[in-house]
Symmetry: C2
């Protein structure tokens, strides 16, 4: 097994200061575009460009199944993962709609769906047929975890080489809020209870059961909090590892990463564990309803852009937020300065 | 003087219920697109269409001056209003950038700039050369207030007739946070102190002065809180009246109104006073930094979509939020249903 070293360059803080000064020369009251100004500065630092562009965005949706669904932690049957992959390939899912809206490249990757799916547009990179039930055994081997990260990394490189200027990661995997909650509990050393939510919509009774299953699974699997690969292999998900890998590819190429909701942010935390600098390339696009998301965002040291009560996944929240990030770049690129427009500055 | 009666049809709540049921059949967990689902339902109710469209948006920017600037309430000289109109006409202001981004029709209307502006693209509907200093005399006559509303109404009709499917109102007018704060204090019967902010960026010392000027002006002008035309004529602004008029045109044509920040929301409150149903056609796009905005939004009974620390005006916040509203319509129009996509529903 390869021991690939993932690394990301430092962001250019010096350029950020210059861009901040430039923004202050644009024809608008000082600071009046609020977070847009912050976003523009961050993008410049990431891309090492005074006038960074995020067009076109790339969207990668990783799909995989979770053995933990055997324990009744989800409100949807496992078959929905494959059914939704078909929906992605037919263009009818939410992420298809929003990807078209923002002119994104969209790739769907089978990194571990429990059944075979034949489709000319599907990228088949199946590492295994779903994870094992981590309540009873490790979700996957260490080699499989590393392989899933590599698959994600390669898919990230691939879409970046096609020209995408920012990266949105999405996922589909019935049961993946359970895996994500387990990963977060291990990384944060917090009790599972406060982190677990209703996922796609289970009852309060099922929620109590879900918490118990995850708690006991962590106890039995005992992942090493210092070792992200160990965490992934013991309680993780293939699509989560894939997303983390793609983020590492983006960060190593100075491509901004637009984080979606809970599961995606967990992948972001894993990427940060693997390569700390990679977090500097992440923008948290929205605050999800899932209870653990707030803690995950805090652990990344970020502030979400939107708070719209979203909890869909697939990368949808990031796609919905993308135009705001684009607005920030256009402000920088297209607005006149006080000088160029002949507008008086403050008295 | 004409006594035009402005009225808006009732929104179709019954259709809203049908659209809500339809959204629950789309391939996503129930309610998982949060506020997007609410927005889609509202738009259907407003437009009386099961699959409402908001494309293309129309943006009207009304520009006018304020005599109250003589009292030193603003950090920019009055001449900036005209200079910024030139900037709008050259395409270099923030609202130009964001209007291009969202493919909007954009019209710039001189409804009361203190100096003459010659430009082939400018719509000249000057009601008067700026308002009078309302610290010393009424801002305008009752007839001028009615005329400014009519100008706005006609401009609204005009851009709607060109095909715009939703309306964004913007303003430019040095001193207009003072007029807006005065209007809000009268409408809400609240003390001015808590409503007044730093506008485009005055000092704390100037802020105290601004509060005193507005307080005393209200006392001296004594507008009738039950009479929106009286409020406008005594402490209002021409561009604020114009925006209110354009909103009345939108509401009477079932065209959704995307409210921008503080000043625009004050115009929304005035439109609601003139025609209560018109408020049902308003969507508050963002929470501005200006202190009075929160109260103004509450008086309209709305919840903002974005909270990005914006305080620029010109309609920019609404333009930045527009793609999210568009996302809501595309969700409705383009997503597959569980049935059509062959995806299993909940267990």
């Amino acid at each position: 097994m390869s021991q690939q070293v993932y690394s990301a360059p430092k962001v250019n803080k010096e350029l950020g200061k210059q861009v901040s000064d430039y923004i202050n020369s644009l024809t608008k009251p000082l600071g009046s575009l609020g977070r847009l100004e912050e976003i523009a500065i961050k993008l410049a630092e990431m891309k090492n460009e005074a006038f960074p562009s995020v067009e076109p965005p790339g969207v990668l949706v990783f799909a995989a199944d979770h053995g933990i669904t055997d324990e009744g932690v989800s409100s949807y049957p496992q078959a929905v993962t494959a059914q939704m992959v078909h929906n992605f390939l037919s263009g009818g899912a939410a992420i298809n709609v929003f990807s078209r809206q923002i002119g994104a490249y969209l790739n769907i990757i089978d990194i571990g769906v429990a059944q075979d799916i034949e489709h000319s547009s599907l990228i088949n990179q199946k590492v295994r047929y779903g994870t094992a039930n981590f309540y009873r055994e490790d979700a996957m081997t260490r080699e499989e975890a590393e392989k899933a990260i590599e698959v994600g990394y390669e898919q990230g490189l691939d879409i970046i080489n096609k020209g995408c200027q920012c990266l949105i990661l999405g996922e589909m995997g019935i049961g993946n809020t359970s895996a994500s909650s387990a990963i977060l509990a291990v990384l944060s050393n917090r009790d599972v209870t406060s982190l677990v939510g209703t996922g796609t919509g289970i009852s309060q009774e099922s929620l109590v059961h879900k918490v118990e299953v995850i708690k006991e699974s962590i106890y039995k699997r005992n992942p090493n909090p210092q070792d992200p690969i160990d965490i992934i292999s013991k309680v993780g998900g293939l699509e989560i590892a894939g997303m983390a890998g793609a983020m590492l590819a983006a960060a190593s190429n100075r491509i901004p990463i637009l984080l979606d909701g809970f599961i995606c942010t967990i992948a972001g935390l894993l990427a940060k564990e693997i390569s700390p600098n990679s977090a500097d390339y992440m923008i948290v696009t929205h605050q999800s309803v899932e209870p653990g998301h707030q803690l995950a965002i805090a652990l990344l040291g970020k502030k979400p852009i939107l708070d719209l009560g979203l909890r869909l996944g697939e990368g949808t929240g990031a796609a919905i937020a993308y135009p705001i990030i684009q607005s920030a770049t256009l402000m920088l690129k297209e607005m006149a300065t006080f000088d160029s427009a002949g507008v008086s500055t403050k008295k």
